[in-house]
Structures are given as C-alpha cells and as structure tokens.
C-alpha cells in the first residue's frame, strides 16, 4: 500500500502537514519579526503625526543666527538641542545627540557579535559581547535622562509665552518645558519630544532588561544546556529594531 506509507509509516511529516517551517525560521523568531512589524507601525504613527502637526505650523524662515524661541513658528532643532554636559553656556548643536547615536549604533554592533558568538557556542564570547551591549544601552539611557532633564529645565534666558490663566490671556516668562507650557515653540513640539523620545526610551529600557536576562541565562549556562543560543538572536532582533527606530527619530526630530 504505497499510497498510505507517507502518513502512516514515515515518522517525518510531509511539507503540507507542518513538516517544515514555511519561512525557514523558528516560531519564536517569526513572531519577533511580526511583533517588530507592528511596532514599526506604532512608531510610524508617532513620527508621521509629528510630520502632520509640524507641516500645519509655520516654518521658521530667517537665518539660523537670528533664531529666537517663539510660539509663532516651529523651532529649528539645532537651536533647541545644543547643550552638552559639563559644557554649560557653549553652543554645540546636535553634538550630544550625535554621541547618543554613536553609542546606540556601537551597542548594535556588539549585539550582532554576541549573536555570532552564539552560533559558535562560544559561551565566554557571548557573555563578553552581551556585557558591552548592556553597557551601551545603559549609557544611552543615562544620556537620555540628562537630555530630558535639560529640556525640562530649559535655557538661562526665559521666553515670553502667552498663557491662558483663569479665563484671561497673560504673557509670562517661561523656562524649560512641560506637557502644558514650554519655551521652545508651539506646545505640540514639546509634547512630541516627550512622547516620541519617551516611547523610544522606554523601548531601550525594556531592551536593557531583556539583554540582562540573556546575559544571566548565558552566564548560568541555560543556553549551553539547551544546545542553542537562538534566544540571543531573537532579543538581538529587538535590540537592532530599537537602534533602527532611533535612526528615524534622529533624522525626523533632530535633523530635519
């Protein structure tokens, strides 16, 4: 009975019976990819809404040197983000965010080196590269904490901002930013800063937690006993995605 042997005799399942992974990847990896796709939609929504609101506001048309903060037009990023820790009062546009970008790209590289070491079953190398990746993530989060603190505290000279208090419009001096009032420009600018960089920062924070878990499991030999370091690869995908999102946030929030 040759025609029944395929289902009854052979222990192998046929292609149309779940015998192979349809996309040549394990279930976990596939689900990580689809999660990242959905997350890409979330970040796109945030960034595109930023674009929508920004194009609905007036653009600043003067020279960069003559720029002052005003709620009349959207601020130009190099005038908002020009502070670097320990160099108070010196205008260094986008330098600090450049350092942050560099840190995140480097931690992406060390992550991919950890994945490579995992393929070779090299426990010591995976531990080493995971530690570097963790360090990169922690440095990035620390930088962001400083950036937020600076953004909230504001510059030395306040900006005159119109505010609606007890039913009347008053003009008052404002330094820094909150979700309600800010010195840099239209209120939406500060709100988007908090939402977009905050949402990304939260992803980095989660990523650092996952990376620590991976490091811990590698250190205790869980993956060695399992005979596969695929978990490093899956969390690696997430970590690269966080880097990828930063590339977009960097462009659309800080450069354009």
């Amino acid at each position: 009975m040759a025609h029944t042997s395929a289902t009854t005799v052979s222990p192998e399942r046929s292609t149309w019976d779940g015998g192979v992974s349809p996309m040549g990847a394990s279930y976990g990896k596939l689900m990580m990819w689809f999660f990242l796709l959905s997350d890409a939609f979330t970040f796109s929504s945030l960034l595109i809404t930023y674009g929508l609101i920004r194009s609905a506001h007036n653009a600043y048309t003067g020279t960069v040197e003559a720029f002052t903060f005003s709620a009349e037009y959207w601020p130009i990023p190099e005038k908002v983000f020009e502070a670097v820790p320990f160099l108070h009062g010196i205008s260094l546009p986008l330098v600090f965010v450049g350092i942050m970008t560099f840190v995140l790209i480097m931690s992406s590289v060390t992550m991919v080196l950890a994945v490579e070491a995992g393929h070779r079953m090299d426990k010591k190398a995976v531990e080493k590269w995971m530690l570097w990746t963790l360090l990169g993530g922690i440095i990035f989060l620390s930088c962001q904490a400083w950036e937020w603190a600076h953004f909230i505290a504001g510059t030395d000279t306040p900006t005159l901002v119109k505010d609606f208090v007890n039913g009347t419009w008053v003009t008052k001096e404002v330094t820094g930013a909150s979700l309600r009032i800010n010195q840099y420009g239209p209120q939406a600018f500060a709100d988007f800063f908090f939402f977009i960089t905050g949402f990304h920062g939260f992803h980095v924070f989660s990523g650092v937690m996952f990376n620590f878990l991976i490091f811990y499991n590698t250190f205790t030999g869980v993956y060695e006993r399992r005979g596969s370091y695929e978990m490093v690869e899956k969390v690696g995908l997430y970590w690269h995605f966080v880097d990828l999102v930063w590339v977009f946030v960097f462009t659309f929030f800080y450069l354009v």
Binding site: G24, A40, L52, G98, M121
Partner: protein, 108 residues
Amino acid sequence: MAYTQEPQITVLPPDKEKIKKLWTVAGILGIITAFEFLVAFTMGHGPLKTAIFVGMTIFKAAYIVGEFMHLRYESKVLLWAILIPLIFIVWMLIAFIYEGMKFSEVNF
C-alpha cells in the same frame, strides 16, 4: 544518570570573514551619520536637505535590517512578509502630510 554526563560542546573559532563584514557595516553607518552632520551644518533648510536626510536614513535602515537583523539572508517569503506591509506606512505618510499641509489653510 543522564545528568552526570557533561554535554559535549564544541566551540568553533571566530568567523573572521563575518566579523570583518559586520565592522564594515558599522563603519558605513558611522560614515553616513557623519555625512548627515556635515549636511546639517552646511546646507540651508529646504526640500532638498530633507530629501537628502530621508534618503540617508532609508540607506542606513536598509543596512541595519539587511545585515544586522539578517533579513537579507532569510527566506524570500519572510523578507516580503516583512517588507510588503510597509506599503501602509508609505500610504499613511503621504495621506497625513498632505492633510497637514491643508491644515494651515483652515482657520480653527
């Protein structure tokens, strides 16, 4: 007992070719970012500058997804399953920016 036996782990030597390639990709990402900084401070604001930034960003994104996330080397089905839905992002982008430009003509 099964647990008394040490599992046989063979640690392979580092793949020099692959590691070199990864550092090359990292170098490319660094150079593009440096170029973006150069453009940021030498060019006036305008559509051309924005177009350069968007182009560079997509270039960087392609390297990160293709090489670091290894998507280039996955099966074609997986590659397209991830890339095709991104059409929706392009659609959303066009629709929303168009709407945003109309906003400035509307008096709230």
